[in-house]
């Protein structure tokens, strides 16, 4: 830490506000092996997980800066047996605590302990509406268990928030997914189209739906919204590959969001570990304050001095910040390029070509017969990809 370092980002970006949103990825361990996971494919190569006291120190330091929304994620955060202790401290500090979970490991004893510790909110993921597809896509047998967890969430008086990641193999089941959510008494349903990072990027050719599939799913969702007979908010997150302008990713890197990875790496978004040339700091050796305000990697993408054309002179740069740095890097090899989702990007053809390929009829859902096999998110596959 250097107390004399100027808190000025390249391009004289103003000193940012506090990291209002803190995401702790407590572990990369996960009982599921989902093909669309955004976790890094090389997770087996990362260092040991932070211990309880490290996490608690991160919570205190971030809260002192003004962080207030807390996400506990992973991997599967329930794989940590100190989750209750972390939640209790976060609650004492005044965080609003969201648990983002597959539900695997959420016994009645644990949900009771988490409620007592002060957990505010649970977001439960489902992979599909049928046991067969849920279990296939996560390479596990978890559907029945998740249904039980959904009932426990209601029993302990949490709002029922379901998250289903959509892709080519389940997007045609949106009607059934919404009916399942209704039967479970869900108050909120997020139909989140896959974002292509990590394992999802690796499996993109098989996961990207056709435009017709997306449009049909949107229409089904619209009709269901009109018909559903009780309060149930349904969010349909359109996949950005089908848009002409990029998402304002993280509302600009380093403006609101701070992610701490299981090994303590501090990141301005949960996928940023992949960005080359940036040496992200680690909470084992740096304070949250110095990371957020003074580290070169967090300052790098603040402001707009890093932008290239067409973003630099674009009147929309203040709205979308040039889109997603990770997507720019994955698709073009340069994180400072415009997100190719933007149709002003000279690389936009990389998006339209991927969508064109997805629009071609293919035998679905029959992923096993395709040339390239789906790669499940497992420690073995991670080691195989990165020996």
């Amino acid at each position: 830490m250097n107390a004399t370092a100027p808190n000025i980002a390249p391009g004289n970006a103003p000193r940012p506000g506090p990291p209002l949103w803190l995401l702790l990825e407590l572990t990369y361990r996960c009982p599921l092996h989902c093909v669309f996971c955004y976790n890094p494919t090389d997770f087996e190569r990362t260092g040991p997980e932070l211990d309880t006291q490290d996490w608690i120190r991160v919570l205190r330091e971030a809260r002192a800066l003004g962080a207030v929304q807390l996400g506990l994620s992973g991997g599967e955060p329930l794989a940590r047996d100190d989750l209750e202790e972390i939640v209790a401290e976060a609650h004492r500090l005044g965080f609003y605590i969201n648990l983002i979970t597959s539900g695997v490991g959420l016994s009645e004893a644990r949900i009771r302990a988490l409620k007592t510790a002060g957990l505010d909110h649970i977001q439960l993921s489902f992979q599909d509406s049928s046991r067969q597809m849920n279990d296939f896509l996560s390479s596990t047998r978890t559907f029945e268990l998740k249904s039980k967890v959904a009932a426990l969430i209601k029993q302990y008086d949490y709002p029922m928030v379901l998250n289903v990641v959509l892709h080519r193999m389940n997007i045609d089941h949106v009607q059934e997914i919404l009916e399942m959510a209704d039967r479970m008494g869900a108050e909120y349903v997020e139909l989140a189209n896959t974002q292509y990072y990590g394992w999802a990027w690796h499996n993109r050719e098989q996961l990207l739906p056709s435009r017709e599939q997306v449009e049909r799913a949107e229409e089904v969702t619209r009709r269901f919204r009109e018909r559903v007979g009780r309060p149930m908010q349904i969010y349909f997150v359109v996949p950005d590959y089908f848009e002409r302008r990029p998402k304002p990713c993280m509302k600009g890197l380093g403006s609101l969001f701070l992610t701490i990875a299981p090994d303590g790496l501090a990141l301005p978004c949960h996928a940023a570990r992949m960005l080359p040339g940036l040496k992200f700091p680690n909470v084992r050796t740096s304070s949250v304050e110095s990371i957020w305000f003074d580290s070169e990697s967090f300052n790098h993408f603040r402001g707009d001095a890093w932008m290239k054309e067409p973003c630099r002179s674009c009147p929309e740069k203040a709205r979308d910040f040039g889109g997603c740095r990770c997507q720019a890097y994955l698709l073009t090899g340069d994180a400072a390029n415009a997100d190719p989702v933007c149709d002003l990007s000279p690389h936009h053809h990389l998006i339209t070509e991927a969508v064109e390929r997805a629009n071609q009829p293919r035998p679905t859902p029959a992923p096993k017969v395709e040339e390239k096999p789906l790669v499940f998110r497992t420690p073995d596959n991670s080691r195989a990809l990165f020996p």
Binding site: Q69, N98, Y158, V161
Partner: protein, 94 residues
Amino acid sequence: MTDAAISVASRPAIERGFRLQWEPAQNAHVLLYPEGMIKLNGSAGEIMKRCTGEASIADITADLERTFQATGLGNDVMAFVTMALGKKWLRIPA
């Protein structure tokens, strides 16, 4: 639910899943909810923190008028509570 008619006798409470708290870093009351946050202005914060489910809208108005030595706040309070019920920040417990 919010369908019931609202009157000065209604006793609004913060909606389930929401939490109101003072944030020194933002010098404001904020309303926290799953994956989001609303920063409240001064008067919204003063009204919301009185919405405990115990006090009626009339009580809340009287308390505000006493605290801020003001009169005639009734319409403003009712308008804010109505808006906040519509946004599901508040509910009227049965």
